[in-house]
Symmetry: C2
Subunit: 902 residues, 2 copies
């Protein structure tokens, strides 16, 4: 059996596709995204410098074999190189007319900056001489040569880059020029000699250069920064990277040469207009690194109209071909345009939404495609904080930079990624990470930070790309920002800001402010978002309701598209200042008459609360949950009472003033009385104690008052023409008999109110499913419920045996850090445990009542992964915070599509 | 279609059996136990006074029809009566030679005293005159007549019995006699006139008497005391009662007449010897009521040898026929023996066990039958407290009575059933109920009491029967006990004891003591019990293990038949006085070196604990659970610390003595330091907090020390030739990764110890299943466990969302009282909820490891209902407290038989 094919020429993409079974995604897996697209572009007839791809399989085989090239793979590389030489009419290592190549990584999923690139491979002293003879351009050749040594030293040999930069800085200083392109040939020759001294292991043999560079790419797959990036982005560690060996073309070959990076649409706003940066007489890194001020594509349109036209046509063709916005690298070598790479472009949430909507409107993709292309987090972004107009007007503006990733961020300045991470994760501080520019090593700090600020770099800089991808507000390229990493300060706009000082950055406008600006949550008015969400609504089968305790929340929820209130918590209303004393009286008395009096006082408050909700949700269902928390939550804290009594006793012992003594004694007596009541109500485990329906059974007059308030409010609103649909929810049921008893009492009260008021209200009674036993016996529970609502917060606590408050500041965080749990079960529903229980409950409940209304309230209702589970479980709706409603609409649609239901 | 057959003559039992399909149990359902047995005895040729049975169906139809006789049922009664008249050659209501009948209830299950009986039906003034003419015995006739009026008044008319008794007492006093049988004819005539005045509704028409008496029996099925009894005994309320109408025979017809009640074996000890009481010239109630001192069957054997022989032969025949010990009523009318009833006899636990064992040994029943005849509670009885020999020797003995129900009981005297119930249930006091004699109305008090003491009554008295059935120690018939219900005192042996004073009664010996005697748990050495448990062991498939923390407990468990230790709690050992300071040091330090030092000190203690267990269980498995409770349980209580600090501060404020001040300040500082640590460890819900495996992951050095101690102990014991099988149990797993991590660390330590010691130990690692998620994901968990052990206490807490400590003094008791829950889920496993989850766990675990060892530890492991569930779920073993081991052995066998597996 012959060896597998480890190497494919760019012109062999059809063969690769046939070999792998035809699926383009698998081709990308084999050749990497970059290699597949270079092949694809070649197939399309787009000008791509010839080359070939060493497959990801070769990479994996190399790594698995203890860093040995598998089988005849290196021979295949040599053969492929020979084909390229033949096509170019040049020879690799030839001293007269040499072929130079680049060596780049290309994994299946784009990982910007994570993998390593070496250009100009094939140069050495002799080859350089030959090239100068051929081109007559010694400056270009030596510039290329010093770049090769520098890149090879840094990437392949793992040398520190700084000494190389110091050599260049010294040379620039000596010649009084401000960029490397202006260095003289003599200076460059001197630089090359110094570089060789810095990198004595640099091999002069071209094939040795190529082999070592290829191995360096392979090895970098398992480098720390690549692993970190994959962990952060959720990319499979088992994919491997391909290596692309490609004929060099030179944007630095003097006049008529250029190199650039461009997006087919605006990556920030989504506007349908080519956007990008380029430089004359430069190589690719010069554009990305942000070390020279770049020109814009508009400049190219003016100064190289034909070539721009050619590029625009290619961009349009590629965009149509991939049905997506393209991020392209190009080089112009002495007037000839070459495409070096194309890939789907990273973009802001705003741009993603607009591009998806526009493309669907233009028929380039379907509406379903458009819905699937938006990540739910990107919708979240529209609801991200922004600075209020007021706060911006009065804020101390320091500078303006490039608005590369929108949103407002406020935090303390941290000048290194490690410090940013430490402050954010260990001390819970909000941090803005500030760097001259960012590198892949900085990603962990960027992820931990609220926002990113750099003094260098452009829209396609590393900082901009990463910030956009992970939704961190970012301002880059603030030229006037001087950062002193030694002194740990930065100066800008005349102000000096120390590490740890507060700043505010506006990634939407590019503004940078001193201090903490006030942020506001904007409304979702983006027309493209509205359009995509409308399409999502057509696709989804899951309803989206909201949790709202107050009319103002209900109104916002409705504006955001909520189709009902899935949870109104009645006890939040009890904590309001004027009500709490009445609630405490109700709890602390042992006299039924006094208790009833307190309840009578609370009734009008609750009635008012509920009436407001009904009016806001006119025509839609409103689920009101009866009192849930244990009663001691409404009383003073035990330790605080004890400490207060201790203090008063000490004061009393030291007091000579009879009046003061009397006052202190009275205070102590009152506190002791409260203490006695608090201790009587004390529970070892209140989460598993007297709360929810258990309270309703122990103190039926309390829930009866609440039901009376609900129905009086409903009748009152109905009389005003409001279409009311109250649903009364009984919390914490664990045995059907609890529900039966409470429901009997409460439904009788409801009927009494409706009789008194002479109005019939469309109502339901139901229960939360938040205790494992209720889920396990859902068939029985459903006998007395018209609806179920999963309380997955509590259901997770009881199913997992985890007290959330205790665990999230204790062992649970440790578990997540140690990787014992992959995910916080309070963020996404635990499929294997809690999800299984939910499935049992749905099956049980519907076996008794096939049309049982089942939803979920609580935080999971706004989490896309949990929403997908709810769709799979055939729930009727998810209910989440008003701010999550748009996200839930999108996530529900995507769940329906993924499950094949839309 | 003709009416069903509502009435069956005693001689028509074959017809009834054919009509109902042949099953004898169904015949008992139709005719009641008494009616079926009267028919059966008639069929056997045993002398039974002729009569007939009105079926339970007639009763139910009567009650359902609003208390109307259904269809032609009354006509069927009249026809059956006519057949009896024809057979007897007498006519009902005839003034010359009248037939008198009794009317008795007879439900499927014997309910002694619960249903009502009327004798001598058919007597009125005219009939009495005729009977006197016929018998020449006016005293007998008037005695029978006054009995009829009294019983009819009480039972049928619902009149208070006391006025009747007062009339009789006045008559006895007037004539200076001490029993009613000695009253003169004139006195009886006067009594009859006074009785008629007390019961003006007494009908003189015999058929009217019969009809009203029959209806009274029917109605009494729904009387409060019948319902209470059925609730207590778990008898179906839908069965109904039959009515037996039977020719009267008279034990009160002068010399040569007698009546009695006898058991075919001794109901207290089980000895195979007829035992019973009888009275010459009396009717049945006289024997049961205990108002006259009864004679014993030994006296009958002496004084009426032939009749005794006839009776003994019948008893033997009946016992063989029913394959059970018989409880028989008989009457001798002028030298002719009649059997009035036979039924399976009630017996003490000791008697039940001995009778079952003897009958199986004699081949009367199978060994399986013998096992099935013992109720697990009866085994429990053998482990009931008894008074220590010492305490009895030094106790203040007041009197001696009949030892009718064994066991020792200590409590405060309560003279009424209501008070006994109130004190026991509402105030949690231990009560001895003391009555002159007991009646069905008293059952609720007897059930609530620790024991029963009466001044009247014999071995077959109501008090004796009920006490025996429900396993309450009882002493009855203490003649010298004088009870003053008005003064609420009793005097005995020269002492006066007030209600609320402590007494101790010994139901095994019949002794009564003043004050509280010390009780001890005896060993189970009863040879018959050993025999039956041995048979149970042959039948059961479920293993029986024990929970034991100390060698002494393990030894007891082994003696009681335990086949392993299912749970040794390591933390109990931490609470011992000399260890607790070390444990606290280990917890409160933040210095790893100090912690390790403390752990090093604890290691030898734990090693010693474990070595003792291994030695005690030589050859059997010992499951040791690693530390489970949250660490703050080992520290002082928060409120107590705060209060102590407050007190010290007040003292400090008032102190003038510098030395004292210094001491106080130092104390406050120490307490404040401890307080800070307690607060740092505080958890809102410790049940769901940092405990079990979570502790092991947070402080691996702690569990590592425990595992080292286990394996060092195992090696040490093994070197001494002990056959050790340690199983290390990790508590509170909720996610497989927790188990995996801990096991990796701990198994490595175990291997290290075995290497150090040069010994290979047969060990297992496993986990508790006590969190719903562990049960739901048991397939995953089983990957890293060789055994599961259900911790159903915690599993019930989390599945039900109930904190046991809080609930059992709060809403859970309320739920049980209100009937929201039928059973305390901490007493018997909740089948529908927790049981379902266990089923999921067993299926999941065995799907991964078909031979997975699965058991249950915790209190449910000793509960017969829960044991039956464990058998059904195919667990390998149950583990329970050593004292429950014998019960579990029996219950496991019964579960196997009931499930058809043995």
């Amino acid at each position: 059996m012959s060896d597998p094919k480890w190497v494919y020429g760019f012109d062999e993409v059809d063969e690769a596709q046939a070999a792998i079974g035809g699926d383009w995604d698998d081709v990308r897996g084999l050749l990497g995204g970059k290699g597949a697209n270079l092949g694809d572009m070649t197939r399309l007839g787009i000008p791509v410098p010839p080359g070939f791809t060493i497959t990801t399989r070769a990479c994996l085989a190399y790594l698995n074999a203890g860093e040995q090239f598998p089988g005849d793979s290196w021979a295949q590389v040599e053969a492929a190189l020979a084909r390229v030489e033949a096509a170019a009419g040049k020879e690799f290592g030839d001293r007269k007319d040499p072929l130079l190549v680049s060596c780049r990584s290309g994994a299946k999923f784009s990982m910007p900056g994570m993998m390593d690139t070496v250009l100009n491979i094939g140069l050495n002293d002799q080859v350089a001489e030959g090239m100068i003879e051929l081109t007559g351009d010694a400056r270009f050749v030596y510039d290329s040569y010093r770049r090769l040594i520098q890149m090879f030293g840094s990437v392949v040999l793992g040398l520190d880059d700084e000494p190389f930069e110091e050599v260049l800085a010294a040379a620039r200083k000596a010649e009084g020029v401000d960029n490397d392109g202006a260095l003289s040939v003599a200076a460059l020759l001197d630089v090359i000699e110094q570089f060789k001294a810095l990198a004595p292991a640099f091999p002069s043999a071209p094939m040795e250069q190529l082999k070592l560079a290829t191995e360096a790419v392979f090895k970098s797959w398992n480098g720390k920064r690549a692993i970190d990036y994959r962990n952060a982005a959720g990319i499979d560690h088992g994919l491997g990277t391909a290596v692309n060996i490609q004929t060099m073309v030179f944007g630095n070959m003097g006049e008529g040469s250029a190199t650039g990076v461009a997006m087919s649409r605006n990556a920030t706003t989504g506007e349908n207009k080519i956007e990008g940066d380029f430089l004359f007489n430069a190589q690719g890194e010069d554009v990305v690194a942000g070390t020279r001020p770049t020109l814009h594509m508009e400049d190219m349109a003016e100064q190289m109209a034909d070539l721009y036209g050619e590029f625009a046509a290619i961009a349009d063709r590629l965009e149509k071909h991939y049905a997506n916005m393209q991020d392209m690298e190009f080089t112009i070598e002495r007037g000839k345009l070459w495409l070096l790479q194309t890939r789907d472009g990273k973009r802001t949430a705003q741009a993603a939404v607009r591009i998806a909507a526009d493309m669907a409107d233009d028929g380039l993709i379907t509406k379903k495609d458009a819905v699937m292309r938006i990540h739910p987090d990107q919708v979240d972004f529209f609801l991200h904080p922004q600075f209020s107009t007021q706060s911006k007007a009065s804020g101390a503006k320091l500078a303006e930079g490039l608005n590369v990733s929108p949103g407002a961020a406020v935090g303390v300045v941290a000048f290194t990624a490690d410090l940013a991470e430490q402050w954010a994760k260990q001390e819970g501080r909000k941090v803005i990470m500030v760097r001259p520019e960012t590198k892949p090593d900085d990603v962990h700090g960027m992820l931990a930070a609220e926002g990113i600020l750099t003094s260098k770099g452009g829209r396609t800089s590393h900082a901009a790309l990463v910030a956009r991808q992970f939704g961190r507000p970012a301002v880059v390229g603030v030229a006037e920002l001087e950062i002193d990493l030694q002194a740990r300060t930065m100066t800008v706009g005349g102000a000096t800001i120390a590490e740890g000082d507060w700043i505010s950055i506006d990634g939407t406008s590019g503004d940078v402010y001193a201090g903490q600006l006030e942020t506001v949550i904007p409304d979702i008015s983006d027309p493209w978002l509205m359009k995509v969400l409308g399409w999502a609504d057509e696709l989804r089968t899951l309803g989206v309701w909201a949790n709202a305790d107050y009319p103002v929340d209900a109104e916002r929820a409705r504006r955001y598209g909520a189709e009902g209130i899935g949870l109104a918590r009645t006890e939040h209303m009890f904590f309001e200042t004027e009500r709490l004393p009445i609630v405490q009286q109700m709890i602390t008395t042992t006299d039924p008459a006094v208790r009833q009096e307190a309840l009578d006082k609370l009734l009008p408050y609750q009635r008012g609360d509920f009436a407001g909700l009904f009016r806001a949700m006119d025509g839609l269902p409103v689920i009101i949950r009866l009192i849930d928390p244990p009663l001691h939550e409404f009383l003073p804290e035990h330790g605080a009472l004890l400490r207060g009594i201790g203090d008063a006793r000490v004061a009393l012992a030291g007091s000579d003033d009879p009046a003061e003594q009397g006052e202190l004694s009275a205070g102590i007596a009152a506190d002791e009385a409260m203490l006695a009541r608090v201790e009587a109500l004390h529970e070892a485990n209140p989460m598993l104690g007297t709360r929810g329906v258990r309270l309703g059974i122990m103190i039926p007059e309390l829930t009866r008052m609440q039901v009376r308030a609900i129905f009086e409010a409903a009748c009152e609103a109905a009389k005003d023409g409001v279409d009311v649909h109250p649903e009364v929810m009984i919390p914490l049921t664990s045995h059907v008999n609890e529900l039966k008893r409470q429901r009997d009492v409460l439904e009788a009260e409801a009927k009494k109110v409706m009789e008194e008021q002479g109005i019939d209200i469309d109502y339901k009674f139901g229960t939360m499913i938040e205790i494992p036993r209720a889920a396990l016996t859902a068939d029985e529970v459903a006998e007395y419920a018209e609806f179920f609502s999963f309380g997955t917060n509590d259901l997770t606590q009881t199913t997992y045996g985890i007290s959330r408050d205790d665990a999230e500041s204790g062992f649970l965080m440790e578990y997540l850090q140690q990787g014992i749990l992959e995910e916080n079960p309070f963020a996404s529903i635990d499929r294997n445990g809690v999800g299984k229980l939910m499935g049992i409950a749905v099956a049980g409940g519907r076996s008794t009542k096939p049309d049982l209304e089942i939803g979920i309230c609580g935080e999971h209702g706004g989490d896309p992964k949990s929403i997908a589970l709810c769709h799979e479980l055939k729930l009727n709706y998810v209910s989440c915070s008003p701010f999550r409603v748009p996200i839930a609409r999108l996530a529900a649609a995507q769940a329906a599509v993924r499950a094949g239901d839309a």
